[in-house]
């Protein structure tokens, strides 16, 4: 620290602004529970005592206006598709999407080859940050998906536009 050493009391901490903001963002994720089908039950179980997603600082939200992350859990039908897009647009920046389960990843059992009424993946509607495979995924898999997202947030540049922000627009989102 050189000349700064002992110049400040011990409760003064030096950090990079990027790191400080990302630290706050990744450890206080409010997720919007988009429980559409079977995966929604596993998402509820994750909030329960055994898996306890709140250990990772993530807490369930029912309003899109208070959410940072949308966990899309279940089959997206054509009727529901516009609603998902609408709810995503209501979320404030920075916003992330976690696609949970085969149906919202790619259609899964209900992809276009099989079902006439299901959209083959939520990435057709909104940009997705993390895909969690499984039908339905185990709760551990969802937790892993959340940790993956947290690592991704940790690597974001807040003040400088990095490659990702150029591709996806300012703030890392389109």
């Amino acid at each position: 620290m050189g000349i700064l050493e002992n110049a400040f009391p011990e409760y003064v901490v030096f950090s990079q602004l990027d790191k400080a903001i990302n630290w706050a963002r990744e450890n206080s994720i409010s997720y919007l529970t988009m429980d559409l089908a079977c995966c929604g039950v596993e998402m509820a179980q994750v909030a329960g005592g055994r898996f306890d997603i709140e250990r990772f600082g993530a807490v369930a939200q029912v309003s899109p206006r208070h959410a940072d992350l949308m966990i899309v859990a279940g089959t997206i039908t054509y009727k529901m598709a516009s609603r998902i897009r609408q709810l995503y647009e209501q979320m404030p920046h920075p916003r992330y999407v976690l696609s949970m389960g085969s149906c919202s990843n790619c259609g899964g059992m209900f992809s276009w080859e099989y079902s006439y009424s299901a959209v083959s993946g939520v990435d057709k509607l909104i940009p997705v940050d993390v895909f969690v495979p499984g039908c339905p995924p185990r709760p551990e898999a969802l937790l892993h998906g959340l940790i993956t997202l947290q690592r991704r947030i940790a690597g974001q540049r807040v003040l400088v536009r990095d490659e990702l922000s150029v591709v996806r627009g300012a703030n890392g989102n389109p």
């Binding site: 509820a44 909030a47 006439y116 009424s117």
Partner: protein
């Protein structure tokens, strides 16, 4: 969209993204101040075309899709479909397989009712009860995982029997679980059934008369809460239910009127006790023998049609299958209990406070995947 129809009423949407029902259910609610004037359900947000998909699948290959018809009681959907195909093809199911089916069916009923009760409590703001329910469900999920490897969508019941035999370890753990659950049920009663606030929120709310219930085609706990003693397990016993000794709890209007939301809640709680008793009987009397009948590699059901019904946690779940003698079904139709419950909506949501909407939907235990298929 939110709109003022005239100076008096306001129409707005509850859902499709709302926590009242399990899944995306939309209700168009018209209110006059705090009072609900009318309510119209809008279904189809989870219509996945499962019935149509059956026509492209083989008879046996369709089984995983039946899981997704009602994912909280996947075993019952498996069973209804298996029973229908078995009665069409004249397949005899071994005794052991039948008892295993009863055993896993009741385990599944425990899981579903626990979530229904927890969900209803959560609607009223009692989040602790939901956490308790999730905690106990986790043990049921573990048991199923031990049995068939899946936590939610089991595909365990197959045409001709079940997928795998129960193991010694499973039987031991299930005994342990029922011993664990009985004292826990008292915990729920202490937390909810004897709670003045909980009673106050549920008594006299959403009263369904027996006549209306029958007219709307209600089945299951919702019908029994209105005082009608109808249970498919007793009326048309399947899978050897006639050998089991259990009661059918009915609503008596303990704190309010007969057929109110509290009755629906308490009937589910009593059914939990009955399910535990059936599980114990099934474990004690598990016959020796085979767990499945061998099917030909390419199974083809003979020409004809068949219908089978089971008592799922939400009511009578019927499956109608029609065969043209091919390797895939000509038509599969599900008769689902939650869809019948939606018939009630226009009558039930009249002159009630807005705060009761969540209570009533929660107490009806509507499963949207089952409504839409």
């Amino acid at each position: 969209m939110t709109s003022f129809d005239n100076a008096q009423t306001l129409t707005f949407n509850v859902g499709p993204h709302h926590s009242a029902a399990i899944g995306p259910l939309r209700m168009k609610v018209r209110t006059d101040g705090e009072m609900v004037v009318s309510c119209e359900p809008d279904v189809g947000y989870l219509h996945r075309g499962i019935e149509k998909l059956a026509e492209r699948m083989t008879w046996t290959g369709f089984m995983p899709y039946t899981d997704r018809v009602d994912y909280l009681s996947a075993i019952h959907c498996n069973l209804a479909y298996a029973l229908a195909v078995e009665s069409l093809a004249g397949i005899a199911v071994p005794e052991r397989a039948q008892t295993i089916r009863v055993l896993v069916g009741e385990l599944n009923r425990l899981g579903s009712h626990l979530l229904a009760v927890g969900h209803l409590a959560n609607q009223l703001g009692a989040e602790t009860a939901l956490m308790y329910a999730l905690r106990d469900r986790e043990r049921i999920n573990n048991l199923f995982e031990m049995l068939c490897g899946a936590r939610l969508t089991y595909s365990y019941v197959r045409i001709g029997g079940v997928a795998a035999d129960v193991t010694e370890g499973f039987i031991e753990k299930t005994y342990e679980f029922v011993e664990y659950l009985m004292p826990k049920l008292k915990e729920y009663h202490d937390l909810l059934s004897n709670n003045r606030v909980f009673m106050g929120r549920l008594a006299h709310v959403g009263v369904i008369s027996p006549a209306t219930a029958i007219d709307c085609g209600l089945t299951g706990p919702t019908l029994r809460a209105s005082g009608v003693k109808y249970d498919t397990r007793k009326m048309q016993p399947y899978s050897g239910y006639q050998k089991f000794d259990f009661d059918v709890p009915v609503g008596k209007g303990e704190v309010g009127a007969v057929g109110d939301a509290f009755d629906r809640y308490i009937v589910r709680m009593r059914e939990l006790e009955q399910a535990v008793s059936i599980i114990k009987q099934a474990l004690d009397a598990l016959p020796e023998g085979q767990f499945s009948t061998a099917l030909p590699r390419l199974f083809k059901a003979p020409k004809g049609e068949a219908y089978a019904a089971v008592e799922s946690p939400r009511g009578t779940l019927g499956v109608y299958v029609s065969s043209s003698g091919e390797k895939n079904p000509a038509r599969v139709k599900f008769r689902t209990p939650s869809f019948a419950a939606l018939n009630l909506f226009p009558d039930l949501f009249k002159n009630i406070p807005l705060s009761d909407v969540g209570t009533i939907v929660g107490s009806l235990d509507i499963m949207v995947s089952e409504v839409d298929r």
